[in-house]
């Protein structure tokens, strides 16, 4: 029996065979910078608690929060946050109290070396008490400007060292939140700062979209089934629409938003991730670099949109007052802390091309906006029309009566919709025969919903991502060259808008966007109303 071959050989532990590998996480401490902030409360601690509840955390585990404010009751506050934001309720006391035993808070400014000395002391204590060794995941739940300072502080205090090889060597990793820079230059500068003291292998850049089950499922759908991939090319696909729509407006973050805009906030990261997942070539393995190599290739094959081309291939817009889900809402320029003459876009639509053998000639329509009719993220593949419409001019009805009418819209080509949120699932539109004499067709949708097949409480993106960072699996994190390629595509568009003084269209809140977006489409194509 092969499994006994390596007994005592110093290789794999044969007793681990058949155990879920996600569980074989080595003991570690997660250090959260920005622990008094919103992300920690709403996402990170609830995710860590749910990992504990699913028994996915290692036996030796600790969490240390670091931020400026004093937090004498850090444990209690986190308990309240978890009770409120956890996907599973009510709070399991036993699990929480076990977690809380390994929890600590260090107060201090990120630019003060004493903060790192205090952190080192706390880590020294916990690493012995909780048996976590020097395995550390430093989570940067802070804005991008703070990150270099923190990483430098960690390096100077020797809390992070470059990785040593060997199966039992301890590890230190740095998790960086989005946004990763605000343009290509700042992203490059941030990469440079990080790489000055840690290796690329130690950096985990978060795009929480990649932690979503349904986004990962895009790859399973494509590469885990035999019947779809053969259709996945210019031979069969007429165009692809990618929509990331929100109902919400700027929600009190007018000041932040007015400096950012939807292109930086959503398109540079989430929407481009969706695009690459849908269009990448199959990687040779489910290995972090193999997957990311393929994604980067797609980004490099994206035809740049430069200078005057922005006027033809993109539309930027802002919402005006309107009604969303029955509520009257103000226009963007009337939102608090927004410049009344602002040109910041709350909607963007683009017509993209990928210059590759697989996708040459296929338009990719990408749009994202706030205050649209509905919260939805989806990718829709529209297939080519039939080469010959056999049933369109159907013969006389059997009974000799008038020919059956084929109503408009009812003989449209097939569409495959991959819904990311909400109601995660897959829908396929195809034609069927209407029962009775004649050959009248009607389109129907075959609809599959994940929630109904696997229960609705699937893990949150952050659970998967925190666990992967602890396991050292970077597949679902953005690599340096990937982030730079994303910005490399976005930067010229932002510059084009500025240099060409591109118009800012408007759309009514609660609609599907500005009419101007229609001119991006090839004649005959229509924007979807999901």
């Amino acid at each position: 029996m092969s499994f006994s071959e390596n007994v005592g050989s110093g290789e794999e532990n044969p007793l681990r065979e058949g155990m879920p590998d996600e569980r074989t996480v080595r003991p570690a401490t997660v250090v959260i910078f920005g622990a008094s902030g919103d992300l920690t409360r709403r996402k990170l601690l609830p995710a860590i608690y749910n990992l504990a509840l699913s028994r996915l955390l290692p036996g030796g585990f600790a969490v240390v929060g670091v931020a400026r404010r004093p937090k004498p009751e850090f444990g209690r506050e986190m308990r309240e946050a978890v009770a409120k934001y956890s996907r599973r309720k009510p709070l399991d006391e036993a699990t929480w109290s076990e977690l809380e035993k390994g929890m600590a808070y260090v107060q201090g400014d990120f630019n003060d070396p004493a903060t790192y000395a205090r952190l080192a002391a706390e880590l020294g204590r916990l690493e012995v008490e909780r048996g976590t060794g020097q395995n550390r995941v430093f989570y940067m739940a802070v804005g991008p400007t703070e990150v270099p300072m923190i990483v430098r502080g960690l390096c100077d205090a020797k809390l992070v060292v470059r990785p040593a090889d060997g199966p039992d060597a301890s590890y230190q990793r740095v998790v960086v939140e989005k946004p990763f820079g605000e343009d290509l230059a700042s992203a490059r500068a941030l990469n440079k700062e990080l790489l000055a003291c840690v290796d690329e292998r130690q950096i985990y850049r978060i795009d929480h979209y990649l932690g979503k089950e349904t986004v990962q499922n895009l790859l399973v759908f494509r590469f885990g089934n035999t019947i779809f991939e053969p259709l996945w090319s210019r031979q069969h696909v007429s165009h692809v629409q990618i929509t990331v729509a929100e109902e919400l407006g700027v929600e009190g973050r007018g000041k932040f938003y007015d400096q950012t805009g939807i292109t930086r906030d959503i398109v540079q990261n989430h929407a481009l991730q969706l695009l690459t997942m849908v269009t990448m070539e199959p990687p040779s393995s489910w290995d972090a670099d193999a997957v990311r190599d393929e994604k980067v290739k797609v980004l490099r094959a994206l035809r740049p949109i430069r200078g005057r081309e922005v006027l033809e291939k993109t539309v930027r817009a802002q919402y005006t007052a309107g009604t969303v889900r029955g509520d009257r809402v103000p226009g963007y320029r009337e939102e608090p802390d927004v410049d009344p003459n602002s040109k910041t876009e709350t909607y963007v639509a683009m017509s993209l091309r990928i210059d590759s053998f697989r996708w040459g000639g296929v338009p990719f329509y990408l749009r994202s906006g706030k205050r649209l009719a509905k919260r939805v993220a989806e990718v829709a593949l529209h297939f080519k029309p039939l080469p010959h419409r056999l049933f369109r001019d159907a013969p006389q009805a059997m009974d000799g009566g008038p020919p059956p009418s084929v109503r408009r819209g009812e003989d449209e080509p097939n569409v495959l919709v991959l819904r990311i949120q909400p109601d995660e699932g897959i829908a396929l539109r195809f034609a069927t025969k209407v029962p009775g004499g004649g050959m009248t067709m009607r389109n129907v949708a075959m609809d599959f919903r994940y929630g109904t097949a696997f229960g609705s409480s699937t893990p949150e993106a952050y659970e998967r991502l925190i666990l992967d960072a602890m396991r050292g699996d970077a597949t679902l994190f953005t690599r340096a060259d990937e982030v730079e390629a994303q910005w490399g595509f976005i930067d010229p568009i932002l510059a084009g808008w500025r240099d060409q003084d591109a118009p800012v269209a408007t759309y009514e809140a609660g609609s599907w966007g500005p009419r101007e977006a229609d001119r991006l489409l090839v004649p005959g194509d229509k924007w979807r109303k999901p």
Binding site: M1, F3, S4, V7, G8, S9, G10, E11, N13, P14, L15, R16, E17, G18, M19, P20, R23, R55, G59, G60, A94, T95, E98, G131, D168, P422, D423, D447, F448, R449, G451, T452, A453, F454, G455, S456
Partner: protein, 346 residues
């Protein structure tokens, strides 16, 4: 429930299901088409006294593994060729769409048992796997017709002996999940952890002791020893003696360890004596006396470490989901069951 000949009952069940599925759902006010969501057909068979328990199991499963559920038993009081049945169906709204499931309960008379497999075959949902779970007291007469239909078998070695399970493995080639193997996962994980950084000592284990509370319906040490032995290439010469793959002897000791507040047949501790680079290595993973949900994990000798671990509690719905889905351990479990049955026979 009325009793009918098998064929007639089947026709009525089909008619009831057809009428349910072809009528619209009215929950949302307006009539809406029902949507079926199917991941499997789940067949639970157990003694008649276990039916309530079976219902709870299949109800809980509808949330995570919807499909068609069957609860099958047999009852000597029915006319031999008859069956009694009950059909239930329910819908819940998901994003405005009614998602529906159905349940079929059948009790077979003594002679009708041999037709259970064909009834199931007629009623299962196409294209999705058939999972058969053998609950407590599953009627023996149902098994020969059900097991060959299974794409996956779920057993529970906490109430069915490993010898009996090994026997069933001969009746079906389907992969097996064992609830008890899921429940005792943490013991195996904690034992595996002893060796993560001391792998060479796996080849020098000289003694294994398993403690357990007395009075269990089956021997809890069997599965554990079957697992450990099969991973390491051991053969059992007697219940208290194994040979490792180099032919070296390993002493096996079972220890009765009564604990207040712990059910019978629970593992209370595992002790292993081995050596590493010529130095003795003593490993122990033992439930705390005061708090049996806590274990002390210690290594002494060539490696010195100690931790406390919470064993935590998992409800049976979770245990079943893992037995269904955690297929990565299938081969390991099969090897463990086969060797555990050999150990039991010694």
């Amino acid at each position: 429930m009325t009793a009918l000949p098998v064929g007639e009952a089947l026709a009525r069940i089909e008619a009831e299901l057809a009428s349910f599925w072809s009528s619209p759902d009215e929950q949302a006010g307006a009539p809406m088409t029902k949507v079926r969501s199917s991941t499997m057909s789940f067949v639970f068979t157990a003694a008649p006294s276990e039916i309530e328990h079976a219902r709870a199991t299949t109800d809980a499963l509808a949330d995570t593994h919807p499909g068609r559920a069957f609860v099958l038993t047999s009852d000597g009081r029915l006319a031999p060729w008859e069956v009694s049945y009950d059909v239930r169906a329910a819908c819940r709204l998901d994003g405005g769409t009614p998602i529906c499931f159905d349940w079929i309960e059948m009790t077979f008379g003594a002679m009708a048992c041999e037709r259970a497999g064909s009834v199931v075959a007629a009623l299962v949902v196409p294209e999705v796997p058939v999972v058969v779970e053998l609950g407590r007291g599953a009627p023996r007469a149902l098994l020969p017709t059900l097991l060959p239909r299974a794409d996956r078998l779920i057993v529970d070695s906490a109430h069915t002996s490993v010898a009996r399970i090994a026997e069933m493995l001969h009746m079906s080639t389907a992969p097996v999940g064992d609830r008890q193997f899921v429940r005792t996962y943490q013991w195996r994980e904690l034992v595996a952890r002893f060796f993560d950084d001391a792998r060479p000592s796996l080849g020098s284990i000289r003694e294994v002791t398993v403690g357990r509370t007395p009075g269990g319906a089956t021997e809890p040490a069997a599965l554990f020893l079957g697992w450990l032995g099969s991973r390491l290439g051991w053969g059992f010469e007697a219940r208290d003696r194994a040979r490792d793959r180099h032919g070296e002897p390993v002493r096996i000791t079972l220890r009765d360890d009564p604990r207040e507040g712990l059910a019978p047949g629970q593992i209370t501790g595992v002790w292993i004596e081995a050596s590493l680079e010529g130095e003795p290595l003593s490993l122990a993973c033992v439930r705390d006396r005061e708090n049996p949900k806590q274990v002390a994990w210690t290594r002494r000798g060539a490696r010195v470490t100690s931790h406390e671990h919470a064993l935590g509690h998992r409800d049976e719905a979770w245990v079943l989901v893992k037995a269904l889905d955690a297929t990565e351990g299938d081969r390991v479990l099969r090897d463990a069951l086969v060797l555990a049955a050999q150990w039991s026979e010694r």
